[in-house]
Chain length 300, copies 2
Amino acid sequence: MNNSQLKQLLDSYRQRFEDKLHFFLPLSSTIPSRLHEAMRYSSVDAGKRIRPFLVYATGKALDVPIEQLDYPAVAIELIHNYSLVHDDMPAMDDDELRRGKPTCHLHYDEATALLVGDALQSQAFEVLSSAGNIAAEKLVKIIHLLAVASGSKGMAGGQAIDLDSVGERLNFSSLQQMHELKTGALIRASVKMATVLADNTKIKVDDYQNKLENYAKCLGLAFQIQDDVLDIESDTQTLGKPQGSDQAHNKPTYPSLIGLEESKNMAKKMVADALDNIKEFDHHADPLRWLAEYVVQRNY
Amino acid sequence: MNNSQLKQLLDSYRQRFEDKLHFFLPLSSTIPSRLHEAMRYSSVDAGKRIRPFLVYATGKALDVPIEQLDYPAVAIELIHNYSLVHDDMPAMDDDELRRGKPTCHLHYDEATALLVGDALQSQAFEVLSSAGNIAAEKLVKIIHLLAVASGSKGMAGGQAIDLDSVGERLNFSSLQQMHELKTGALIRASVKMATVLADNTKIKVDDYQNKLENYAKCLGLAFQIQDDVLDIESDTQTLGKPQGSDQAHNKPTYPSLIGLEESKNMAKKMVADALDNIKEFDHHADPLRWLAEYVVQRNY
């Protein structure tokens, strides 16, 4: 795939995803309007959409019909968005800015933000369980993957470890474990959900599930390290959220533990490992390759 | 079924349910321990378990294998429990007492309570999607029912309407609509999830799905009216939560709208309607009949 083809493909994914997200969220005119408006405020037309891209890109690599990928793509972004809304609340990070806008609890109120997060999570499972074009057995597996990745042994568990570790000096492996849950679980689930949809009789790469899972694991770590780096090196306007927030919250980060330069090297190493894991895939995996590079090249 | 047989059956449901709930919740010794401990603090060995009873009782009336009912029974109670944890938080009702114990955010902290609610919701969908003894097509339907009943067009939506209506004088039909979502949605879902599991070639009551759904609708309203009545007539120790809380929060209730006596009459009328809807069912529906009576006779 040449660069212009790849760019066109990625643009089409983004457009498709935004359309589907609009479609799957309740209209603001539907009662309770304020809640539905706030759910849209916190989800639509914003965000890098890394997780949906991963779903579409993995599906492309495995020749999955795109119509099936829409459901896990929307569902996982809804889960990610709910977690941002709750994370920003005063009881957690108490942040004022998200994706360049006032956070949900500031634009609305705390009670609404609480309900927005709760309802976005339910919406994710509603969307997945409405996928009439996916075989029920596969759908149950996908729902299970998303539920586990979201819950106390996944993302929410990672946030709990993060809370417990504020002000403490985590060692490297504890920091790694925290991030493997907090951001890694959803990133791995994006790839795994799309993998479930593949017809494994047609795929010519041996042990492709494991290879893609390793790709996702490396990508997740690279993503988190780059997040920590950007928190130091970028600025609030570019980030769309407060720069220096980790340090302000006294959070353990890769740079605080191994230094800024070593963190950047580690992120690059992780990207190389991610790419190595998918080297046997053909050009349909080019979007996955692009994503791996993007994760450390992004500036927000 | 005579009274002693019925009592024995209901006791066996309770014991079975508590065992399953223990089984399906992560152990407190599993990392993150504090989160898992708090999830258990907010769920196990407490509560009337009305929704699980409804699942088991509906399943009994329709001859569904009890091993299949465990999954929706546990899942719906997890959703109910998450909603209580979030409802009690300072941003919502700011309550101090729940089931006779300090609320989750007081016993732990607000951030933990937020994550407990989030993780209990994920756990509900994890439990459902792990039901290997239920056909995948039925499981997807059940997951969809639970997701819709929990989200912005169900329970969370009812809470949003409740929030918006504090201090306002709702009319009767708006109050009804709010409760049909806030408490009614999960009560109806309990019955509907069990109904999905029935083998409809074997059931001799015409149009049984509709009849059971109407039963659930009446029961839900009776339940809510009795809740409002108890908030006036009971005491904090019996309730296990603060008596007079509705008035203190200036919440619209049935007694505030139609008076205490009229509310009690209406609850009785709803119970009679509920029973009327299941009159064609045989003695296997006796637990459903008992539940209808219990809902207005309970004192907490």
